[in-house]
């Protein structure tokens, strides 16, 4: 029997690793899938190809999958996420002059203290600081907003947040179009490498287990061939296992750097995927555990509560007005049932619950599973709040805008 052709759209970012590795390391082929990767330069185009059947699945921003399901910016189309491609991996990079005033350049600091200093600068300035994020409906935008609000900065009144495509983020910082950026790797490292930016925070310091990119499919496409979907998820899961194997770091960085994929520096990519962060040029790289989280602790499991948290942030940002029907639809984007069905045969640990209290784990915690043993590490938010998906209203009213 011949292999099933399957196309996945992606942007050249380090966290597109799992689909790329599923192809390059032969896991897709083992599942009889002839995987093609389609590279684009904007999320709009990745999303259009997905919606109109030019691709079968996409490496997508988690909030964009929810926004599309809710009909924000595109005709509403139900999108399903059966697999999370990674957690975190982004950073906040400021121009060197601004960075110097809020942090010790070259090393990680306390993000609450850095935010407080930033707030003082924001209040003293006549012209608002301007931040670039990669997309209106991006985890970058919501994570940055969450941090700013928590530090007493109103993300709409006190500063300006604009969209900047990742490949142009370093340029925008260099020519003063923006004062700071919140982007994924390798683009922070590119700015640091050029000496036009200094990393002041990585997003894992804001939320230790923040959901980032997902595998998105049109729900109808996913459901019309459940066997194919299962095979794809298994191939991606094996790619995740390979990704966290330290012996394969060089090989993986070299694959990702290829012209057809990230078309970038293997050295910069290797640094990002091994959690080695160069906060500023001329300083030694520092190991930031959990900077990018692609596989361990069932990171690929689509927790319904992660989708719920994102929906809450979309409401807080004013991108949508909260209502029960949308909340249900947003949560239903994440599909743990599909994940479990696909991976049960592999005997890997499967969480028993589909939803959890986000930010509720202070230390490592063993959790209930339907099979295997699973320990989840701490998942705290920098401001020690937690999010209960069953109490959205309380959470929203409890979020005080500065």
């Amino acid at each position: 029997m011949s292999n099933t052709p399957f196309r996945i759209g992606f942007l050249p970012l380090v966290d597109a690793a799992l689909p790329i590795l599923a192809r390059e390391l032969g896991f897709a082929e083992e599942e009889r899938i002839d995987l093609t990767l389609v590279r684009d330069m904007s999320w709009a185009t990745v999303n259009d190809r997905l919606l109109y059947g030019h691709s079968d699945a996409a490496h997508l921003l988690a909030p964009l999958a929810i926004a599309t399901t809710l009909g924000l910016g595109r005709p509403a189309t139900p999108i399903a996420v059966p697999f999370v491609l990674g957690l975190n991996g982004n950073a906040v990079t400021l121009g060197p002059d601004l960075a110097e005033q809020v942090t010790i350049v070259g090393q990680p600091g306390d993000v609450a203290a850095i935010g407080a200093k930033l707030a003082a600068i924001v209040r003293a300035r006549a012209k608002p600081l301007r931040f670039g994020v990669v997309h209106r409906y991006s985890s970058h935008n919501y994570m940055l907003r969450y941090w700013l609000v928590g530090c007493g900065i109103d993300p709409d009144r006190d500063v300006e947040i604009v969209t900047v495509a990742p490949p142009f983020a370093a340029d925008a910082l260099a020519n003063g179009e923006v004062d700071g950026i919140c982007v994924g790797e390798p683009w922070n490292s590119v700015a640091v490498d050029r000496g036009v930016g200094v990393i002041v925070a990585v997003t894992s310091q804001i939320w230790l287990r923040g959901v980032e990119k997902v595998l998105a499919m049109r729900t109808t496409r996913m459901e019309e061939d459940p066997d194919l979907t299962s095979r794809l998820i298994r191939a991606l899961y094996r790619a995740g296992v390979a990704f966290v194997d330290p012996a394969r770091l060089d090989e993986i960085a070299t694959i990702l750097a290829q012209p057809a994929y990230l078309d970038g520096s293997a050295a910069l990519i290797r640094r990002a995927i091994s959690d080695q962060i160069l906060f500023a040029r001329g300083h030694p790289a520092i190991h930031v555990p959990d900077f990018m989280f692609q596989h361990r602790e069932a990171a690929n499991f689509p927790w319904v509560s992660q989708a719920a948290w994102l929906y809450a942030q979309m409401c807080i940002a004013g991108h949508t007005a909260p209502n029960d029907e949308d909340y249900r639809a947003a949560q239903h984007v994440f599909r743990p049932d599909i994940y479990r069905a696909a991976l049960r045969p592999l005997g890997v640990p499967l969480p028993g619950a589909s939803s959890k209290l986000e930010g509720g784990i202070a230390d490592s915690l063993g959790v209930g599973t339907t099979q295997g043993r699973l320990i989840l590490g701490a998942d705290r938010f920098f401001d020690a709040r937690s999010f209960d998906p069953d109490a959205l209203e309380t959470y929203l009213t409890g979020t005080k805008r500065p």
Binding site: S42, A44, T45, D48, G73, P75, H135, R136, T163, V164
Partner: protein, 192 residues
């Protein structure tokens, strides 16, 4: 009907604009330079915005459309969501369109179809140009190889060409490739 063409390729934008003008749509502006595009687009207040699908700045422009107070907010649209063939044609050709709400479908459809035709025409033009360029390069290599053979083996032009053709046929390669190999070898070997 006011149409904006956002394209970093000035040549392609011109090809599309020409098509629109020929169809009697004269209220057209081209936005090739990204800098300050937000203010200029807002001032122009288009009904339809045409952007090539591969433009890396679509996310920024979509945010501008979503937030703009000055202009009616155009939304991404392939005219008719049920028109799958039309959507596929647009994506194949590499066109994306943003249309302000309330414009009649019948009025948009011909514009998008025209844009698709012009995008394709431009791709074809590019392909033909590339082909012409490589044909020219091949012609040059064959002439050089013939001259080399004539000089080194003391044969005339038809004999040199026949030798090239035979070598190509014997090795199952294109005559241009054989000629290229001879020229390259000569450059490497010099007067050996």
């Amino acid at each position: 009907m006011r149409i904006a063409i956002v394209d970093e390729s000035a040549a392609r934008a011109a090809v599309i604009e020409e098509g629109l003008r020929d169809a009697g749509l004269t209220d057209v502006a081209i936005f090739a330079d990204r800098h300050g595009i937000a203010a200029r687009l807002e001032a122009f207040a288009p009904d339809v915005v045409l952007i090539n699908l591969a433009n890396p700045h679509r996310d920024e422009l979509e945010e501008l459309f979503a937030l703009s107070r000055a202009m009616a907010r155009p939304v991404a649209m392939f005219v008719d969501q049920s028109d799958t063939a039309g959507i596929e044609a647009a994506i194949d050709a590499g066109v994306s369109a943003y249309v302000v709400d309330g414009l009649k479908k019948e009025r948009i459809k011909p514009i998008l179809e025209l844009a698709i035709r012009r995008f394709r025409a431009y791709s074809r033009l590019r392909a033909e140009l590339d082909e012409a360029r490589s044909a020219l390069a091949e012609r040059k290599a064959i002439d050089q190889a013939k001259a080399l053979l004539m000089k080194k083996r003391g044969i005339d032009e038809p004999a040199a060409y026949a030798a090239l053709r035979k070598a190509a046929m014997d090795s199952g390669r294109r005559i241009g490739d054989v000629a290229d190999a001879i020229v390259t070898a000569d450059r490497l070997m010099g007067d050996l």
